[in-house]
Amino acid sequence: MNAFAFLGQLAGVVLVVALAPVLAGWVAQCRAWLQNRSAPPLLQPYRSVRKLFRKDAALATYASPLFRAAPYVVFAAMAMAAAIIPSVTTDLPMARVADAIALVGLFATARVFIALAAMDIGSVFGSMGARREMMIGFLAEPALLMVLFNVFLMFGSTALPTVVEGSLSMSGLVLHPSLAFAGVAFVMVLLAENARIPIDNPGTHLEVTMIHEAMVLEYSARHLALIEWASWLKLLNYACIGFALFVPWGIAPHKAGPLVLLLAVALLVIKLAVAGAVLAVIETVSAKLRIFRAPEFLSMAFLLAVLGLLVHLLLQS
């Protein structure tokens, strides 16, 4: 562990934070193309963020300091999460402090803060959105943990870099049926956690169907920009977790040269482009579920992940 590794990790975090709005723009663009609309430019999220940062923030009269702190906490939690997910390289000095279970905890922290802030103002929509978000969250979190356990069981470690190195060093073609279950469950959790279509509609302005939008209704200007950016970053973090678990090829191993690192960045961008397009297709072909169907959707994800564990124990014993 040296200063160089820390700098490398910092650069990785900055890269991921900078890429997040582009991914969001790309998904929006793909969705627009699929729906025969003219697409917004790829960098539209950047423009809206810039616009929001220039504006003056309007706060509700009864907003507590918690309300003002929440966007920063949420953004910091997501950036921290980006620091312990091996997206470009597995050489992450900070990942030794926190394994993937702590990662789930970071996501939970962000969720709790944004829900508290939504309730803080006392508006009806805020607390409704917060309650819905917590309902989705408490169902999605165990499913996510079970997905992670599937992979941890295979490599005997709860640290994502170790898992990636383990699967990179595996020689020959080895098929893992349990990973198929975990993969499907992970996609379902990703859709639910990132306010994507079967569960929540990111582009909605209809109060009855809002979850994420309802919580951030009271935010404006730089606070709103940070919250939006954090949610894009969350999507990117989930995508990177998915790559680390299921398609780790291309992530640079320990002590890789600069050329390998560049290649890893390029591959990451390609993988993100593909994942974003797939996400747009999923969102276009599926209809939004009624909110009371969400527990069914997520219990299915949990069940698939547990089935993956069982199948692993049966077939690999």
Binding site: L173, V174, L175, P177, S178, A180, F181, V184, P295, E296, S299, M300, L303, L304, V306, L307, L310, V311, L313, L314, L315, Q316, S317
Partner: protein, 221 residues
């Protein structure tokens, strides 16, 4: 991790796919989609039978794979869809299914089946013996579907899914049954589906509905 041949690994993947389809059937409310899932189950079954046939060099399994393809992927779903069309229940669904609790019961069944199959499969000598647990789980899940569903058509689909599980158990653990028995079962199933079709019409004539819970009530007049 014991090194398995590619064929055995592929068979494991197919077995896992079979289990996944079983759970999808358990969670599916629409009857039309259930029939499509049944056809997919037949497709996976055909692939696994072909795989076992090529790896174990058993020519008679090719015939049974062809039989599975024709009967379970095309003929039976087609008959069921046609029946539904003629009964006028194409958009039919089972709305009273509590999916999360069904899933949990199903999970319990899978654990039970895996535990049950462990001592049996450790006695077997074939490479693919571990799939017995999955085959048993598929059978039990089909049972669960038959118990939990109300409509006659879905119960028949559950019955056919159960037969798929039995067939998978036979091919993967003992390299299939003798050809005579397989032909007999295939014919039985086909005749069974026809007879079920006649029953559907009779039940609907009597009760104006295909909900089997009405059969449990005593007649008042």
């Amino acid at each position: 991790m014991p090194s398995l041949t590619l064929a055995a690994q592929l068979l494991h993947v197919l077995a896992a796919g079979l289990l996944m389809i079983s759970f999808a059937m358990l969670a599916q409310r629409r009857t039309r989609r259930l029939i499509v899932l049944l056809a997919w189950q037949g497709t996976v079954l055909t692939a696994s039978t072909l795989l076992v046939a090529t790896t174990a060099h058993l020519p008679h399994l090719y015939y049974s794979a062809a039989l599975t393809l024709v009967e379970k992927v095309f003929l039976m779903p087609w008959i069921l869809l046609r029946l539904m069309r003629r009964l006028g229940i194409e958009g039919d669904s089972d709305p009273l299914v509590n999916i999360p609790s069904m899933m949990l019961v199903g999970l319990g069944l899978v654990i039970f089946a895996f535990g049950l199959a462990q001592p049996i499969s450790s006695l077997a000598t074939t490479v693919t013996r571990q799939t017995l647990g999955i085959a048993m789980a598929v059978i039990l899940l089909a049972f669960l579907m038959m118990i939990a569903r109300h409509k006659a058509v879905t119960q028949v689909i559950g019955f056919l899914a159960m037969e798929n599980g039995l067939f998978f158990a036979a091919t993967s653990t003992t390299y299939g049954m003798p050809m005579v028995i397989e032909l007999g079962i295939a014919l039985d199933l086909l005749v069974g589906v026809f007879i079920f079709g006649i029953f559907f019409f009779q039940i609907r004539e009597q009760f104006d509905s295909l909900d089997l819970h009405q059969l449990e009530a005593l007649k008042e007049d």
